[in-house]
Assembly symmetry: C2
Homo-oligomer: 337 residues x 2
Amino acid sequence: MKYLLLFLMLCCSVNGNAQKYVLLIHGGAGSLTPGMVSPEREKAYRKGLQNALDAGGKVLKAGGTATDAVVAAIKVLEDDSLFNAGKGAVFTSEVKNELDASIMEGHTLKAGAVASVTTIKNPITAARAVMDKSPHVMMVRAGAEQFAKEKGCTIVDPSYFRTEEQYNSIMNIKADEKKDKELQNKKAYLRQPENRDFKYGTVGAVALDKYGNLAAGTSTGGMTNKSFGRVGDSPIIGAGTYANNKTCAISCTGWGEYFIRLVMAKSISDRMELAHMSLDKAAEEMMMHRLPELGGDGGMIGLDKDGNIVDYFNTPGMMRAYIKSNGETAVKMFKGE
Amino acid sequence: MKYLLLFLMLCCSVNGNAQKYVLLIHGGAGSLTPGMVSPEREKAYRKGLQNALDAGGKVLKAGGTATDAVVAAIKVLEDDSLFNAGKGAVFTSEVKNELDASIMEGHTLKAGAVASVTTIKNPITAARAVMDKSPHVMMVRAGAEQFAKEKGCTIVDPSYFRTEEQYNSIMNIKADEKKDKELQNKKAYLRQPENRDFKYGTVGAVALDKYGNLAAGTSTGGMTNKSFGRVGDSPIIGAGTYANNKTCAISCTGWGEYFIRLVMAKSISDRMELAHMSLDKAAEEMMMHRLPELGGDGGMIGLDKDGNIVDYFNTPGMMRAYIKSNGETAVKMFKGE
């Protein structure tokens, strides 16, 4: 009887682990605080996050891989014009949409990224194609677009990405630039696209699948008024995206230049691997100390190999949501939620 | 008398530290072993390295910054058609020259990079302009070229970078591709541009200046027959280039995809910062264990804040050279030199 009990406990434990999955997503960090947008708009943001969670969660529940779930969730956010990725991306200083995305798998350390692309409907699918179907990790602009097309990614006219809201946003900045020469300090403009609810509208996802594998992905339109050809942290493996089964999966959003200089995602992973910190402690140190010390801001989501999740942001708000195999789920926008 | 002696010792020590400088450069890692090339060609490689060392060393001796020295040394290697950076870069699969470069400063963690550019004579100067004169860290293709032009970098016709040797190299590969369909596995081609003395001809420099500041820079034409738009590790901060006054300055050369996936340069720095390894131990672990375990190859140079230098490569040879303020200097091409 004692042995039967032990056997059953062991089965449950193995099964429990094998069946465990987690999906955590974000829709950008920014200045949004309760009451700043209409209840309808807040509802739409939450609905958008829920839709992405549903898409990715379904994949994991059905036994799909973490990579599949990350792509499924991010595709929904790219297609939703409320988020600054895919359709609805912000405009560059040349009034164009340039998109970046990356993906990484924790069990193989395989990775793929595309940067500064203008015709790929879902940049995350192109990043995945680079990872799975090329010997390369990173491809940019026309070369990336040509490759994505060859591999079956949906190609659209650049006008597909345009939304009136984002177009008006860049036009207002352009008008202000003309009005006040002193304000032509690009840094100030990059930092303060005031008419954005979420100034860093990058989207991302991290997942742990039933097989114990981690994956992370990030997709973005970058920062409003960014220079033509500027690439932020989102397509940089180690900066905006990183996954390693030994440690964690990370996706960042924020003032990308600071995340690149800090090699943010890898720095968090290395704190776990080399200094034996928990994910929470490692992320807290990088996001709440190193990042503001250098002058940057933004947010991140992280998921460790045991299914623990964290989010940190030193902006007033960050859109994030998660679902776990045990049924636990939440959609959050504000601090303290 | 005792106090005078103490005072003098203090002066020497402060002065000694303050006057100390080191420059370490590389010209790529590859399959070259003694006797594989003509004595004339070997001499030309060594002379090229010496010229770069002279240019950078002069800057440091005169009290210039590590950043100035890194740029000075790399410019010489970019202008030398024997090295795969600037003039003499390898060709892409579309028979074009696409160049990447990056630079980072250890005391500010400021960084700049350009990728996939085709008209900037010295990509390292454009990377520096991005670092010093833009709010961005990374810019690609036409946007980077337009920015570099505005900031006074020399612009050339893409044909400037072409050398007959590299042109013949890509043409031979193209002919082989036609001849043998089975050999069309891109991975094999990327790995084996047999007619290159140094298959990974990236160049780089790391420096410690008299003020105790570190800097690192890398410049490359990438890999022969790389896909149009492919970006390797050279312009990726944390992968091919990293500098931090707390730890070290690193420049890598090799099969870039593996260096990106391992976030090579930052992984070495983090081993020093978080696991308290020496530069030598940290570099050895990443280059001689993690890199081959994943299937990659290449080399790196590193310099710590105390002026200790290392080079590691898991290829038969790597071109490297250094000069120190104490007069110590060497130019090396082969293993064991």
